[in-house]
């Protein structure tokens, strides 16, 4: 390692030699950096997971434009939209199809282990509005009280989910009715529910008698192939006379939901602060280690100053130490962070895990913030006055 660093820096790797001279302190410093990395990884993992979980239900559908109530910040939030606006939208020549989408949470009492499905009520005659995996099974929903269940839902065992087929359906009680699951799809647990479920709009209205077929939660629209979605959306805003409605492209609706979850919901802010705290902890640890190291070697540094070494040399030593701490601390942080995220993903059924982009981002951040800490620590070098050596 010494030879490699000597080759890289073109001088004795004094930073490395200093750090490894006191191995106990070096290991403690690496553990501190690794700990800060783990903190950031876990918080980032949860934030990413929230993003993935937020966007996941949007992937179940295939639409170009979504009309929602003014307070519908998320797919499962907000008031209803009158179906008449869908008919109004058809007045635009580029709008080719529409479907009302009902959304609500449906509990399933499993005897002390209740789970909750974010449930979509859809028109079984409109498979074009669904992702291929679900569209292929939608015909089953034409039968009243039939459901397609999320096989990755939290609280549903994998064996139990795998057994669900039209030949071996799974029936369960909810909202004083019996639903029969005939098939499954891959959804996944989220922060608002344990999983997802598809039923027909008629079954949905049976489960929720207070809801009206004329007022779905959202209206999904498809436009003519090649049509400009932004232009159609803009025209619809002029065409539909209710100014309180949110008429957005489907992609924008998904992104706005994501921003809302990350920036306005307490959970998103908490995880964001978690990342910030991880970064600050890392900064403080590296600064403390380097600052103490500089203080410990002030006399040696003063000697080097007397010998004619300039400020760039000392900055180089501290940056070398910062890079070593940042890089070597990152590796165990990555390993432990990956293990924790994997474990958390298995326990919670949330889409938690290490991603390459997350690892690269944290690595670059670790190196940058370590060097920043090191640069701050060099201010203590001013106290190394070679004139005091005599």
């Amino acid at each position: 390692m010494s030879r490699l660093l000597q080759w890289i820096f073109g001088r004795l790797p004094i930073g490395w030699l200093q750090l490894t001279h006191k191995r106990g302190r070096f290991l403690a410093a690496l553990s501190g950096v690794a700990f800060a990395n783990v903190l950031v990884f876990v918080q980032l993992g949860i934030m990413n997971s929230m993003g993935t979980a937020t966007l996941r239900p949007y992937e179940f559908f295939s639409a170009d434009i979504m009309i929602s109530a003014s307070d519908a910040n998320a797919l499962a939030e907000g008031g209803n939209v009158a179906r008449q606006w869908m008919l109004q939208a058809f007045a635009d020549p580029d709008v080719t199809a529409g479907m009302g989408l009902f959304v609500s949470n449906v509990p399933w009492d499993r005897g002390g282990k209740d789970i909750s499905f974010t449930t979509f009520g859809i028109d079984p005659a409109e498979p074009g509005f669904l992702a291929p995996e679900i569209a292929g099974k939608i015909a089953l929903l034409q039968v009243q009280d039939v459901a397609i269940l999320d096989r990755l839902a939290r609280g549903l065992t994998r064996d139990e989910a795998a057994a669900i087929r039209p030949q071996t359906p799974l029936s369960f009680e909810t909202q004083n009715r019996t639903l029969t699951a005939l098939d499954t799809f891959a959804g996944g647990g989220g922060f608002g529910g344990d999983g997802f479920m598809f039923i027909s709009d008629q079954t949905f209205l049976s489960l929720f008698p207070s809801r009206s077929s004329g007022a779905p939660d959202h209206i999904l629209l498809r436009v003519r192939p090649g049509a400009d979605v932004a232009a159609v959306t803009s025209r619809l805003r002029g065409l539909i006379s209710d100014p309180t409605l949110r008429i957005r492209s489907y992609a924008d609706a998904a992104q706005e939901d994501l921003r809302y979850q990350q920036m306005q919901r307490p959970t998103g802010l908490i995880f964001g602060f978690g990342v910030l705290i991880g970064v600050l902890v890392g900064l403080v640890i590296v600064y403390q280690v380097l600052s103490a190291d500089v203080a410990d070697h002030l006399r040696e540094y003063a000697t080097f100053k007397a010998m004619g070494y300039g400020s760039r040399f000392f900055l180089g030593i501290v940056v070398e130490e910062a890079l070593i701490l940042g890089i070597l601390g990152f590796l165990p942080g990555l390993a432990v962070g990956t293990a924790i995220l994997t474990l958390m993903g298995k326990v919670t059924a949330l889409p938690l895990g290490m991603t390459a982009s997350m690892a690269i981002m944290v690595f670059v951040g670790t190196v940058v913030f370590s060097v920043l800490s090191g640069t701050f620590a060099t201010r203590r070098l001013a106290a190394a006055d070679p004139a005091d050596l005599f």
Partner: protein
């Protein structure tokens, strides 16, 4: 400055502190060190010996008077100029000031590496030779913690001399050494003076050294009060 003079100071005065606390440490010092000479600077504590060393060693800025060092005027010199000049000097401190994380060899290499562009192999070879001169060929890879006080001081001497400096400034270099080691060091400085023209200014209270000095300057209260053995 005479061509044979490594250092030539004229009217050198120096003060410490500000305002009411301002105190003059040196008074109108005139001093010249010929190339290859070994000069001993003596005097009681507080007489200004250390101040002279730090001024000639470019470790403090010259406030008043002129100091010519290796052909450069130190009065008004920039920090970068002073740093560059220090690379041509050798310092031996009373305390060895070795870097605890570096081996004897690595500590001495630091004395060569300060000059950019010195190949690694050349630096190692020079360091090995310098440690051989001070009798530590068998301690190249020892950390300071594993060396005796005298051995550490000899490593510090090797570090000061490895770059073949034009001027060596030494503060009580033999204080931690036994009689033989002290004699070896002083003989080596004398020999370097004769062979390479290395000039040495040495602060000491060690009477064993006085008879080997070319000149002895005595400072009292910031003034040179006597010069023995030369001008």
């Amino acid at each position: 400055m005479g061509s044979n003079m490594i250092v030539e100071a004229r009217g050198l005065s120096h003060w410490f502190g500000d305002g009411e606390a301002r105190k003059q440490a040196l008074f109108d010092i005139d001093l010249a060190l010929p190339r290859g000479s070994l000069t001993v600077l003596m005097g009681p504590s507080g007489s200004g010996k250390t101040t002279v060393l730090t001024l000639l060693g470019c470790l403090r800025g010259v406030q008043n008077g002129t100091v010519g060092l290796l052909g450069h005027e130190l009065h008004g010199a920039s920090e970068a100029e002073l740093t560059a000049l220090r690379q041509r000097l050798g310092f031996i401190f009373q305390s060895h000031n070795l870097h605890e994380s570096l081996t004897a060899m690595q500590n001495v290499i630091m004395g060569v590496q300060v000059r950019p562009g010195v190949p690694d192999e050349l630096a190692r070879s020079a360091a090995t030779q310098a440690l051989g001169l001070v009798g530590l060929s068998d301690r190249l890879d020892y950390l300071p913690a594993n060396l005796s006080g005298g051995q550490k001081q000899r490593v510090a001497v090797a570090r000061a001399l490895v770059g073949n400096p034009a001027l060596v400034l030494a503060d009580e270099p033999t204080a931690a050494l036994d009689k033989d080691s002290a004699a070896t060091i002083i003989d080596m400085l004398k020999r370097l003076g004769a062979e390479r023209g290395t000039t040495t200014l040495l602060v000491t209270h060690d009477n064993r050294i006085l008879d080997r000095a070319d000149r002895i300057l005595t400072l009292e209260d910031g003034r040179i009060v006597s010069i023995a053995g030369g001008t």
